[in-house]
Symmetry: C2
Subunit: 396 residues, 2 copies
Amino acid sequence: MTAALDRLRDAGWVRTRHGSASTVQLPAAAAERIAPLSATGEAGPLIDLRRAVPAAPQELYLEATRRAVDRAGPLLAEDGEPGPGIAELRAAIAARYSHEGTATRPEQILVTSGARAALTLLAAHFRPRVALVEIPTFFDALRVLRAPGTRLVGCQVTTDGWDPDQLRDAFTAARGNLAYLVPDFHNPTGALMSAHTRRTVSLLAAEHQVTLVVDETMRDLDLRDQPDPVPRMRGALLIGSTSKSIRGGLRIGWIRASASLIRELQDHPLAGPLSASPMQQLVAAELLGDLEPVLGRRRQELRRQRDHLSGLIAEDGRWHFTRPPGGLALWLRLTTDLADTVVERARRNGVALAAGPRFAADATLAHHLRVPYTPPLDVLDEIAAVLDDACRDGAR
Amino acid sequence: MTAALDRLRDAGWVRTRHGSASTVQLPAAAAERIAPLSATGEAGPLIDLRRAVPAAPQELYLEATRRAVDRAGPLLAEDGEPGPGIAELRAAIAARYSHEGTATRPEQILVTSGARAALTLLAAHFRPRVALVEIPTFFDALRVLRAPGTRLVGCQVTTDGWDPDQLRDAFTAARGNLAYLVPDFHNPTGALMSAHTRRTVSLLAAEHQVTLVVDETMRDLDLRDQPDPVPRMRGALLIGSTSKSIRGGLRIGWIRASASLIRELQDHPLAGPLSASPMQQLVAAELLGDLEPVLGRRRQELRRQRDHLSGLIAEDGRWHFTRPPGGLALWLRLTTDLADTVVERARRNGVALAAGPRFAADATLAHHLRVPYTPPLDVLDEIAAVLDDACRDGAR
């Protein structure tokens, strides 16, 4: 395991934990994400898979930053105060939608400091009494939507997709309020909503006057062998982000909506605090300008990682899963153990995972487990071994 | 005026307005800040002084970014997810407090995407029923604090400072809640709170169990000829920012508090969306490492600008003001005209200013006007001439 760990350590995946916080020599973000685990007093390294983060193209990001610095003069002549986003980035984002068949003007884009920030702004603007969410869904979205006074109603998603009856009930319960959906390679199941279900959702939203917020953060991570174009939900406010396509640390996201709603959102008191640094926006514009080769490589790598991990843990009575058509993780249903128990055991063996209940608005999914396949292949071997141990324990 | 305008245009201060939005060749942030004015259908350039923004050291910022890129490797190996701030920046900020006599550990610093973001997080965490604010105060702070359910109570500040009786009444009214104060070169009056008044405020806050939030964004802009050290308010949560000391577009601010409160704030759902890009944090760390020469030059320039504008508009029965000991603007009390009227006239002559009521929680200050002295000296000549015209009109 040592060679694999060295590689991981080099790539920032593994940190050696210390008994005392003061001896930690690492950048804070990493050190503190691991800090809660040090409380257990265990020694040894940790593979932290509690968040599903693809390996980012470091050199590409640095080169884009260098190019941005070289032409930042006009941008720096401005006052740097928050606004709807720099013209170049809004135009680049709009052009990408238009290119994909969803005609979009730059005035329809509001740049934010990420998808989380975009959802935060929308939730603060609409202040829904009820928010419809998928069960499971992205856990940070649950935190944002669970604002004081907002009640969550759920609609189950499995690796097979969305249940039409549950959708109907949930939209009825959310009448006049807001729905937050992730139809493209849904996090964490990886499910892709069919064109038929999309039409159903659009009709339900219209019928029940529900503001439809669609998070497309995972949309670029299409891992199908022969992909058809992914249809877009009609009548939805779209949230986009560079966090999975490029790099989370870029901290760039956006909202696509009508130009008039964008103007309203821009006037919200939270719009300023949730806006993105102009320089990072220029870097994002640089990167979006030539994104397809990056995405091509990323998809190829993720496909290999997905297939490798799927192969390692396949055909096992202790869990079920479906190889997902996209996204960053396998979504396991454990047949014998509680996910919290397996997570605890895996953590003792150096792998930190997120259990199902974290993704559930209603504390269900006790038998589910998300296993990101984002690490390198030899590390996936180690993860599969740890998982095997963690579930073997349970069989004892 | 042409030569001055050319210089301004080069520096990003002036944009030529166009009848049609599609002909605007400028970065969006600038173009859109000016856009509302185009609605009047007037031609001609605009000197936009609605925000007080000092000229930023462009080359310095770019050099710091280049240095950050060169050593960003370890930072980019991390996942880029939101956290409390990168270790190096938290340490640099803490060291600066400690150097100034306020012993601070890195764990007491939470980095945010600016002072606005810091105040937003504190307001969301404490959810005060009542917030004490100065009248006038920074208008974006009013927007953040005017969250649903929060009632504002005011305490007047003049260029002479804070009234002890009003402070006592306001703290009594805010009992058990929150106060937001800007004691260092208060925005927009420039007033500096005396050590005596600071002690009074600290005692009042303790007596009435008021959470004291002190915004030190302007603290570095000390323009006194022979400055004593500015004392710090005791028992306060401190907000800091690089926006006035370095550059607003850097979008870096922070909260200094107890390590335990910082941990609590870090767990708030808004902490992620309000966090700063890791790369901008590294740039900020680069800049904070050698800030004193930058600040020295900035203070010298602002002092000259303040004295120039003060000289141009001094000794005039149409307004009163006191030369401020620091900050970015003169705070005029007009003796004959309403500020809104003067602002409207000045705007017609190409100068956009912010009138007093914008800074008031209670829509008072109708006779007050903020005039930033941040532009170059020859532009200040133009601004003084426009102001003279705008008030002469009123005398007719």
